[in-house]
Subunit: 208 residues, 4 copies
DNA sequence: TATGAATGAGGCTTCATTCAT
DNA sequence: GATGAATGAAGCCTCATTCAT
């Protein structure tokens, strides 16, 4: 029992230590980008020594891989596309508000992700498979249903679902370009979401 | 005359050499990102020696600055938002097709731009001022006109113009994530543009 | 206690390592001059790798600054002008012998110092303040006293003290120019000191 | 005749061009030191292009060699030790004033010389042979004469002549260390020369 | 002969990774 | 397991020298 507990305790500690380092890596990577992030700064941010990182991760690159493939992004950027419940979709303004909010908050991570996907296409496949596709699939299912019951025009839902996602991602990018003094950064997110939802939904609705 | 010609010739050669190096820099930066690009690779790509770069640019960073601020992007990514003529806007599908085409072709540059804007907010200001804002302004003028003459709902055109741009940028980003075997990369651009234009324009149109 | 000891041990090692590198820097700088000294040679001389230098000093220049401003020269060239005790002054031949000996041994450092003072006047101020002026002040105090009690002519002791120092420095310079086969390098230092002391002291003494 | 004149003209032009470049080299070397001087700056200072330098000198180092061995320094620093006439020596204050004046004005060159002699002992031999020794010899001859006719104590004139030179050189060095706001730089050269001459000459004189 | 663009060797510096404690 | 000093590969940049014009 004791040793079991110790084991569990050790595993828990190990897991917690990995998390601690990954969080630090996420912060530094998203601020500096992968290449300009230093293990020294990650260690300092995590409150551990540089050597300790290598007790938990094989390399700096392994940190990035764990970050993009792992649970660590789940709680921030990844939620951007993560399966909303069908119910959530039903309220497009609320859904958009939620996603825009998360996205603006984590636009650095989106940039990091785009940049690293570019250098390592596998990241794109991984991210597509784990995050983007499930989200798109759910969206598509929902749109298909509404097309079938006649509350939507018979659009190509494969495209339409991507258009919805693209709208959110694009707003994040424009927000990033405009900066903290730009228009989007200072427009109430709720109003933004309402306007955009309106544009999208009315556009997708059947004409009378 | 002779010396004048010589002068002109030298200036022309200098300009052409700068262009040659900037083109190489654009290639390598967009492929590797700024930090991971090496001056050695840029030189090799440009077909000059490493030292030669420094006869034309003060530093590697100066290459980036010249690239983002200069004419070098004008012919590719910058066109993404560069003032389309009012006439061009009139045909939303054609406009979107054009921009999506350019964007898919240069998605690496969009990523580069986003990443470097994040590290150097001045780049964002510069890009906003020189490229994004003029494009948005033109779009807004056009939308305002159509709102006034009743062919569009009275939307917030400040938001709506950004939504249109965001849609394009977002599609580029999603395309980038999905990769060359993804859905968007293999969907006919013309059809994509038609679909998206439909979503946007019908959504923006007055309900009967 | 243990951790305290460890701390002390680490600090001691750090200090010792800095010293080790500074000593190497002094050797190489004085042999090659600052600009022509390479960090590679300093590292090799110190018996560490090149990167290690930068764990202790911010830059090659910082090595020079630490060298000129720090304790590292105290034990060699700096003693040249460092406050001798009044007693020591009393025996001018002994004082001169001591200083000439030190100076001949470290003429490379004098040259280094002069050269770098020329490029960085702050070094001159620093060296004047920390080393030269205190030495001159002591010398002047002593000369003033002897003027007052009549064992010296009423010379301008501000000038006279500099003359004494200049004599030593000049001998070192001439020795440097003549080289190891030159006259001064092969003249017994004690005899040289006696002769020069005679020239100076009789010259400074009252005429009967 | 014509061709001869042309030849003479060409030679004259060549000589004049060499001189022009050497002067520039002297300026830059004495300001920056040999290693930190760049051929670019020398060319600019000389008002020629970088390539032109290599039409007259084999290398940057050759510039230094020509400078130290050649006529180019003759007109400034070299005069420091260059054979004064016996008559000139007769007035020690005047001689010292002259030399101190030249020396203070050209202390950068003295520093340059010392530094480069250190790296290239041949320079020291060359300088000793061409400049220092002749000067010392003349001084010694003069001192010997005065010893013989009883107006000087029977000092070792080999040492005494070096002491006189050392005094001048040392004053220059101290002046260099103290900088332009230091004591020596702001003391009237004539008074300084008088004081020092007094110290030296009375010291060298026979006691009554 | 004058030019100055091109070259490339070599220097300083950074930083991911290792390893002895 | 934690530490952080040591390492050395690799990158950016400088600058003496060459050479085609």
């Amino acid at each position: 029992m004791v040793s079991t507990n110790n084991h569990k305790g050790k595993e828990a500690i190990t897991k917690q230590r990995k998390r601690q380092i990954l969080n630090a890596a996420r912060d530094v990577f998203s601020r500096k980008g992968f290449a300009e992030a230093t293990t020294a700064e990650i260690a300092q941010t995590a409150g551990v020594s540089e050597g300790t990182i290598y007790n938990y991760f094989a390399s700096k690159r392994d940190l990035l891989v764990s970050l993009i493939g792992g649970y660590a992004l789940d709680e921030s950027l990844l939620n951007l596309f993560k399966s909303p419940t069908i119910n959530a979709i039903d309220s497009l303004p609320a859904l958009l508000e939620d996603r825009i909010d998360i996205g603006f908050e984590n636009s650095d991570l989106l940039t990091l992700l785009l940049a690293e996907i570019q250098r390592t296409p596998e990241f794109g496949e991984q991210y597509s498979g784990q995050v983007l596709n499930p989200g798109l699939a759910l969206l598509k299912t929902y749109l298909d249903m509404r097309v079938k019951n006649g509350t939507l025009r018979p659009v190509d839902t494969e495209v339409a679902s991507r258009a919805v996602v693209a709208m959110v991602v694009g707003l994040i990018a424009v927000h990033q370009i405009e900066g903290k003094d730009g228009f989007l950064a200072n427009y109430p997110v709720k109003d933004l979401a309402d306007e955009v939802a309106n544009i999208l939904s009315v556009g997708l609705g059947t004409k009378k």
